[in-house]
Amino acid sequence: MGTSRNVERRTILKAAGASAAVLGLGATTACGGDSGSGDGTVTIRYSWWGADERAKKINQTITLFEKKYPKIKVKTDFQDYQSFWEKFQTQAAGGNPPDVFQNAVGFLRKYDKRGILLDLNSQVKAGNLSLDHFRAGVTKVGEVDGKQLGVPVGSNTMALVIDKKVFEKAGVDPQTGWTWDEYFKALKTIHDKTKIAGDTGYFSIMYLYDLYLRQNGKAFYTKDGLGFDKADLTEWWQDGYSRVKAGIVTDPKIVAQDQPKSSLSSGHAASEFTWDNFTVRYSAEGTSTYGLGPIPTTDGTHTGQYLASLMLSASARTAHPKEVAQFIDFMVHDPQVGKIMGYDRGILASTEQYAAFQPTDPVSKEIAQYEDDTAKAGVLGTITPHPSGADTIEAAFLRIGGDMSQGKTKVSDAVKQFFSESEAAFQA
């Protein structure tokens, strides 16, 4: 009886496998084979990551595009961030990535190294895509070794997202140019007065440590490796650990329990370092009022900030580079598209779209104000290079920093582990 159960299970599995293979073959020919038809209509595949809200907006913009270009059809696909990149990697390895897709700076070198990304400069020269009319310097984010691998749709910059109500209650009012000492003092004040931890765990956020390093003449990455040494990180994490112990940073266990929500929007912390456009998400998630505060500095002026961005990239294997370029051009320049998308993917990157969208809700207004102030303060520098593997390293920094702060790993072991995982990620 038992054996028969076993055999049955195996047989069924195999049968399932065989049918899956047949279906799989069918599916491949269905979508890979025919993307252009007799009447000159071309189909391009477009995928991105994000929530349903973003998908709704993007679908509206695609309707506009298909109206303007009736000969181009767009097939869409979206997932959450993690699943998107897992799927993308598999598709790309199989030689079947989407023709055009959302991209971020951490992935440019990785997929350039693997020959997946189309250098859009040729399409710019051919007149299918314009890199003019962008807000100052933002197209640089998509540039690697002279190749234009992505065109920004929106820009964002690191900020301190704060729970305004808690900050008010504690009487803390962060000022532009405040120092790290002042910042940590503020966390203590908040904790003393409101019993809420000040921060969600600043020490394991790669993009924040990058700013700190930049303030001190270093950076998280050089062109091909880490831009800091074990002693730097040991000090950074040791301080972080003692602040968790002191209660001014949220208990990492609670941070883990709050996931996928942030401890800030869950009411377990008064602030968090993240991208400024995340305020939109936290305002939707949490019950308090959220605003933006300045990044602490080492010398009283320099925050080390830069503009990062979400981009559109094209596959080097696309059969329709011209249509893909026209699609990107429309999506980044068309004012209507800007109006629909708003600040969902950051402050609109092209001047046409930036002018077309007038934020009316307080959150969007605050983000616009923040980026405006940051730009005017003259603190924006050139973006830190992101070598291949930066995405894996960002995740490792967060994970190992979290383990360390729970006291599960000694600081010295955590640092060692991070360096060895980084080494593997650079080589992968």
Partner: protein, 322 residues
């Protein structure tokens, strides 16, 4: 032989029929029948070669290479294997899996045996109860049940509230690194139906006379269970232990879904296959992932061997008694 020839269809050429080559015809017929047989089996053979044997050979090769899905695999010898032992996350995944196997399997089997003992007695409606207890093991491995489990054990969900009502303030298990693994143990334990059915079959085989004899000697229910039932069903018990242990080592779906694909929080549900998946499909370290897969095979083989060896000590086959 003559009959065999007459059985051959007369469509065979006359020249051949005249030729005294009966063995050849036979062979041809046999071959033709074989061919038909293979033709019928071809979907499975193709499936086996393409989807099992081929990938296995490839994975064995990749296990000794540095391969990121995009490059040409580079031979690195045993590097991937030696790297595992220096990798704290690999150690963590072994620890989590071992914990799951050691805690989950006995609980599941005890439940299966206990319920089987209750259902083995003839009472009204036993067929209904058997079906009812078996049902979870039919659907338990599905992704949707994983989602249900995640909802049951989240903050503010039914388990959390029941606990709070009873005075335990643990919160949702799913978000708590100290508890989430036990929600997976609960999920596997809930699927005790399959081993239960096997236990039931085993219990039916125990001769009634043995119990009657024991009762004559004044044995109580516990002694009857310990001295008759357990030894008599020990081969079935052995089979279930083996099957469920191997099965537990392969846990993936429930850990992946219940932890919302993160195998966390804080790596609390980083079971072996989950880490394998992360290394392979997230970090594109396919060589390392392949090596991990073969290491798992070795480990399962070793545990199986130990279990087989231990049979001598506790499994009682009827032939031995004679």
């Amino acid at each position: 032989m003559g009959t065999a020839v007459t059985l051959v269809k007369d469509s065979a050429p006359a020249a051949r029929r005249a030729h005294p080559a009966a063995p050849a015809t036979l062979r041809r017929r046999g071959r033709r029948e074989n061919l038909a047989g293979y033709l019928f089996m071809s979907p499975w053979i193709a499936g086996f070669l393409l989807l099992t044997a081929g990938p296995m050979v490839a994975s064995l090769y990749f296990a000794f290479t540095d391969y990121n899905l995009f490059n040409t695999p580079k031979w690195v010898g045993l590097d991937n294997f030696t790297r595992m032992f220096d990798d704290p996350r690999w150690q963590k995944s072994v620890e989590v899996t071992a914990k799951y196997v050691v805690i989950g399997t006995p609980i599941k089997l005890l439940l299966a045996l206990g319920v089987a003992l209750l259902l083995a007695q003839s009472r009204r409606g036993q067929a209904f109860y058997r079906a009812a207890f078996y049902a979870p093991s039919l659907i338990g491995a599905s992704v949707s049940v994983g989602f249900v489990w995640r909802s049951l054990f989240s903050d503010g969900a039914i388990v959390d509230r029941t606990q709070s009502f009873l005075g335990f303030h643990v919160g949702g298990w799913v978000g708590n690194p100290d508890w989430i693994l036990y929600s997976l143990v609960a999920l596997t334990a809930w699927q005790f139906g399959a081993p239960m059915v096997i236990f039931l079959a085993g219990l039916k085989q125990v001769p009634r006379e043995l119990y009657e004899a024991a009762e004559m000697d004044g044995a109580g229910p516990f002694r009857k269970f310990w001295n008759i039932t357990l030894p008599m069903i020990s081969p079935v018990l052995f089979f279930n232990v083996l099957l469920e242990t191997i099965h537990s080592f392969q846990i993936f779906g429930s850990a992946y879904v219940v932890s919302n694909t993160q195998c966390g929080p804080a790596d609390a549900t980083l079971v072996y296959t989950c880490y394998l998946y992360q290394q392979g499909f997230k970090n594109a370290q396919m060589g390392f992932a392949a090596a991990m897969a073969w290491m798992l095979l070795l480990a399962v083989a070793l545990v199986t061997a130990v279990l087989f060896w231990s049979q001598k000590k506790w499994v009682h086959y009827e032939e031995d008694a004679r």
